[in-house]
């Protein structure tokens, strides 16, 4: 009986790339098991997409399947069967945390050196790998000079140099704008036919119909759905929505707002603004009027100067020309602080206390007596669903929570003008829709919002006005409201 069983296993083993049975895993610093009984198998050549809310253990499961846990990340693992591929490689999410070396060739050579390839063969292999993914850059180019999208492509090239059977992709596009994300997925699709591919990804619209299976995990680290993508969409959209996971039909149930057509009083005027970056002009604005109660998007390709424009509005970087706010010339950041509030792209770098509660409270303690300040702080925490994390250090929060908190810090007093640099970036469906609802409420309460966003779905649905920076000029775009 036992022998027979073994034979069957061997047969299965030949066809499967990954076979994990009854996996148990616990992080040393926590009480609870992250996984108590996970069973998963992936056939050779299969493409699998793992989705789920943050904290559900998708990345951890990916790391077990690729053997990083427990080999590299020393976390105790128990399983009845743990067959994992020998030749696998990874692409990770952070373009700035996966390169060891300063230049393209040295980075690629690093991988070949690890495999003890003869140096004379390296040049050819590197050129081929770059050609395969369509990254046309000189070998001696510094990696710093690559855009985020190109860095991730380089990561794919690096992964291919490891000659894997299995490719593990851990949110490879989560730090990229829409165009780069699309481009990266096209690249990956062009090379993946012979590979087994396991993907953890939020941004699924480009790959949903390309994968063979979609696996949904819940907050308790359990696999609750494992079906082909079409079936999931036709039968289980409610489950995806319940866990706040993006899917191709997400935007069909996005919040819809009734827009008031009344623009408010003139708020901001910009005249002859010129911004340069190391001596090169990047943006010139002849004249721009912004009224209150407007919801503006600021669009344009990466590096066009969108973030610089917001910084210049805050007088954080030097510029020529005049900014007139409520009929007064703005000379220093101080002149508009309190009325105008920017939320930058990296929430981590905007926190100034070591407790979530304090981040909000310090905005209140100045303006209200202690009890009222506490009350208001708790209200805001509740509003942003952060009340259970109030005691944590802001840096311990998840991406979505961090971003919520960074916006929450703006609401000490309701600002007249809120500048947001990609406020929905990297958020799941639930958090994104929450943010959009919040912005709508703010606009209705009289705040003007200028938000940088690359998300076409937001650009075409919500703003009352769209601005685009293109070739150093700022242009008005039509608002095609699809609502």
């Amino acid at each position: 009986m036992l022998v027979k069983n073994k034979a069957i296993r061997l047969m299965v083993f030949n066809m499967t790339d990954i076979n994990i049975e009854n996996l148990k895993l616990k992080f040393p610093e926590t009480e609870q098991l992250l996984f108590s009984n996970i069973n998963i198998s992936v056939k050779k050549g299969e493409k699998v997409l793992l989705v789920g809310p943050s904290g559900s253990g998708k990345s951890t499961l990916l790391n077990v399947m690729g053997g990083l846990i427990p080999k590299v990340i020393h976390t105790p693992v128990k399983a009845d069967y743990l067959d994992i591929p020998n030749a696998s490689s990874y692409v990770f999410q952070d373009p700035d945390a996966q390169f060891t070396m300063p230049t393209v060739e040295e980075e690629l050579a690093f991988i070949l050196e690890n495999q003890r390839i003869a140096p004379s063969l390296m040049n050819n292999m590197m050129t081929n790998a770059l050609k395969r993914i369509g990254l046309d850059v000189p070998l001696d180019l510094s990696i710093n000079q690559l855009s985020g999208g190109m860095k991730q492509k380089l990561s794919v090239a690096a992964a291919l140099l490891q000659e894997p059977d299995t490719l593990f992709l851990d949110e490879p596009t989560s730090m990229l704008d829409d165009d780069s994300a699309k481009n990266l997925w096209e690249t990956i699709l062009s090379i993946w036919s012979d590979l087994t591919v396991v993907i953890v990804e939020h941004r699924v619209e480009y790959i949903w119909d390309k994968v063979d299976r979609v696996i949904l995990m819940n907050d308790d680290g359990e696999i609750i759905l494992d079906k082909d993508p079409k079936f999931v969409l036709s039968h289980h959209v409610d489950l995806l929505n319940e866990y706040g996971v993006w899917h191709p039909m997400s935007w069909n149930q996005a919040p819809q707002f009734v827009q008031s057509n009344k623009d408010g009083a003139p708020l901001l005027e910009i005249r002859d603004m010129k911004i340069d970056r190391r001596g090169i002009d990047i943006l010139y604005i002849d004249h721009l009027h912004i009224r209150s109660r407007q919801w503006l998007t600021l669009e344009g390709p990466n590096g066009a100067g969108k973030s610089s424009f917001l910084s210049a509005l805050m007088k954080l970087i030097p510029h020529q020309g005049q900014i007139i706010y409520k009929n007064k010339l703005v000379k220093k950041t101080k002149d508009i602080i309190g009325d105008v509030y920017p939320v930058f792209q990296n929430p981590e770098l905007q926190f100034i206390t070591h407790r979530v509660y304090d981040e909000i409270y310090i905005n209140m303690e100045h303006r209200y007596d202690e009890n009222l300040a506490k009350q208001k702080t708790e209200d805001i925490l509740k509003m942003f669903s952060l009340e259970h994390s109030a005691h944590l250090n802001p840096l311990e929060l998840s991406t979505g929570q961090k971003r919520r908190l960074s916006v929450a810090t703006a609401l000490g007093g309701i600002p007249d003008l809120l500048l947001l640099d990609e406020p929905t970036f990297g958020l799941d469906q639930k958090n994104t829709f929450f943010m959009l609802e919040l912005f709508d409420e703010l606009v209705k309460a009289g705040t003007t919002i200028i938000m940088i966003t690359h998300d076409v779905n937001i650009q075409t649905r919500y703003p009352s006005r769209r601005l685009e920076i293109l070739d150093g000029m700022i242009l008005e775009k039509d608002t095609h409201n699809v609502r």
Binding site: A97, F99, T100, N114, S142, I337, I352
Partner: protein
Amino acid sequence: MFDSIKNKDTFVHNVNPVTKIIAAAALFVIVVFTHNPNTLLYFVCIMAILLFTLSGIQWRYLCILLGVILVSGLLSSTYMILYGKGDTTLFKLGIIHVTEESFIRGIHITMRGVILSLFGALVIFTLKITDVFYALMIHFKIKSKYAYSFMAAINMIPLIFSEYVQLRRARKVRAPLIDKKRISGFKGLRMTIVTLMSQSIRRAYRLGIAMESKGFSDNQRTYYRQTTFSFNDIFFVITILIALLISSYLGINYPIFNTSDAR
């Protein structure tokens, strides 16, 4: 590292880092045992010329650097100049007593520092950081674990700096809205350090995993860059020797100070 201010590559860029390091050590000994201030003065001039011609760096940056080196060199020798012993008084005011001997001794010390600074600058400007670590691994058998960790760490420095700039901006925006005690003094400093450190530690952790997932280990490996010794190394050593010979010839035959021994 200095690509943004570099004009061109010279043969010194192709000199093995090991040669440069050994040359620097040798030069240190030679300069310390040179007591003729005339020789040193000529050597300073020749070193400056070498820096300007061989570093490939834009001259205006070199001029700024030269200024900084000279000023800091002079400052460091003021103690010796102002309070030194000697017979020929040049200037006296209270406890300040400048004598010809102390003056020359001070200048002599300055010149030693300046020579080594100029040579150091030439070496650093022409050094590729990866070459240094490759050379250390290949010739000095430094463990690859340490070499690559250092290289990865050096890559992160610009990121830390840009995060610091962002942090400063965010602070500037939030500061007027809150009580000063929250961000001033030690509290503010601690917050800055904790934030930057936690970002870096997280990034380093991720990078470590990425490195190992790419098959990095402390085992045997091949080396893409072959740091061998070439004619460039010989040229480099000869250039320095000639510079030394010329300056000692000029120092003996065309003295500028009226002493040949600063001691």
